[in-house]
């Protein structure tokens, strides 16, 4: 039997109106939790992007001059092949360009002015001993070698940022998960109340032979709308707050670490779509639980 669209729409609307305050509570809970989820996802993306080259235990990077000849590069490579060093990765100019493009995705004019041949190739070095002094001594050996432009070691700041980010992401995700659970329960209760308010109608519907799906659709829609509305608010909140975050960050010249922390538009869209999907799932989960538990034939 085809579900009548106008009937379902009307019933859903009147359910939402009838329980306005508790509906609002569910929507706001979904909103807050998804805003937090979105925020921590975007923040994590940003930090991962800016600290990309420092991941996997890399303690220092030997940047070669873009004009270094193969003999000079080989000499550095041989020098790095020592028992004190655990792993070395060579990043050539093309790979460096790819990395650069990823990092400055949101600044197209900067990308235009850069070509692979002006970027330095580099060796990413993972030493066996991670002690700061040892790393410093080790990296100093490469300063001033022919073909070496500069040697940069992972600063304490970068390590701290990585640590805090990890910790904060987990904390925010934890809080957001609890809130999402609360949202599911709130939606479940809202719909249970809506069903209680309509129990006589539901009884008559069953008696005259309305199908289960016909009886359930308005309630399922109600849950879905609550979840989706909360998600929409969360996306709206993130869209509005990103420019503020961007402005309040130190400029790239002051503090280069933050230059790429705002994720590119494409990455942001993925996060937004994810948020909307999660919102709908939360709504459907709450409604589905209510409908299957309290609406037997």
């Amino acid at each position: 039997m085809p579900i009548k669209v106008d009937y379902a729409a009307r019933e859903t609307a009147s359910n939402l109106k009838r329980n306005f305050t508790i509906t609002l509570a569910s929507i706001l809970t979904v909103f807050v939790s998804l805003f937090l989820v979105g925020f921590s996802l975007l923040f994590r993306q940003g930090v991962e992007k800016t600290t990309e080259r420092w991941r996997g235990g890399i303690e220092f990077i030997v940047f070669l001059s873009p004009t270094a000849n193969p003999d000079q590069i080989d000499a550095v490579r041989t020098a790095l092949d020592s028992p004190e060093i655990e792993k070395v990765t060579f990043v050539d100019q093309n790979a460096a360009y790819d990395e650069f493009r990823e990092l400055f995705k949101s600044q197209p004019d900067l990308l235009q002015s850069v070509t692979p041949d002006i970027l330095p190739p580099s060796f990413r070095v993972v030493p066996r001993d991670k002690d700061a002094r040892t790393v410093e001594d080790l990296s100093a050996q490469f300063r001033g070698k022919p073909g070496v432009k500069e040697v940069v070691s992972a600063t304490e700041t970068i390590k701290l940022v990585q640590k805090i980010t990890n910790w904060a992401t987990w904390a925010i995700t934890g809080v957001a998960l609890v809130l999402l659970g609360v949202a599911v329960l709130l939606i479940l209760n809202t719909i249970r109340m809506a069903m209680y308010a309509r129990r006589r109608e539901i009884e008559v519907m069953k008696l005259v032979g309305a199908t289960n799906s016909f009886i359930r659709v308005p309630f399922m829609l109600e849950g879905l709308i609550q979840g989706a509305a909360g998600a929409a608010l969360a996306v709206g909140g993130l869209v509005v707050s990103i420019p503020f975050a961007e402005r309040s960050l130190p400029s790239a010249t002051e503090f280069p670490l933050f230059s790429g922390i705002i994720p590119a538009t494409g990455d942001r869209m993925v996060t937004y779509v994810l948020i909307v999907i999660v919102g709908c799932l939360v709504g459907a989960a709450g409604a589905g639980a209510a409908v299957s538990r309290f609406l037997d034939v």
């Binding site: 039997m1 085809p2 579900i3 009548k4 009937y7 006589r200 109608e201 009884e203 008559v204 519907m205 069953k206 008696l207 005259v208 032979g209 309305a210 199908t211 289960n212 016909f214 009886i215 034939v297």
Partner: protein
Amino acid sequence: MIKLEEVTKIYKGDVVALRNATIEVNKGEFVFLVGTSGSGKSTLLRLLNKEEQPTKGRIFVAGKDIGELSSWKVPFLRRNIGCVFQDFKLLTNKTVAENVAFALEVIGRPRPVIKAQVPAILDLVGLGTKSENFPHELSGGEQQRVSIARAFVNRPLILLADEPTGNLDPSTSVGIMRLLDRINKTGTTVLMATHDRSIVDTMRRRVIELDHGELIRDQARGVYE
């Protein structure tokens, strides 16, 4: 039309509502179910539209074993069975016409069909002029007519009535019985549980008497006792 084969219904705590009942009702029959409260009349009616499942035995409605009906088909069984209750079960926030239209709307009947059938059925039950009134503006007898209209508007094969005159005075009851008789004459099989001695004695239809879940009498053109 309806066939029960050795049907037993036991509720939780070994409460026997129906024991080994075998009943056959033909198309177009009018049957009174009599017996004291708790004798199993309502259980019998609830078994027929699958609101309850029998503990044992088989039930056939319109030739189909309803025990083998999958749960998604139950609504379609119920579309062939109209139900009328002592307490009417009308929706208080809907008018008379809306109450009847609701029954058609929720089974997906198209709007033109609803528009045509609702006034016709309200005329049939004698409420053509009260279609825009709300249930609380009607007398008990009129409310029961609305509920009969709602049960019959879909032209079911069977009409189950559970003490439809239980809340009504004798003269109003006579009117309701005339209406049920008229519906029966259109070919609808009617099963009516009742405590109303004078109605049963006047109508002289088939009487099935239950006592503590046992079928103790099945009499054509019977009386209350």
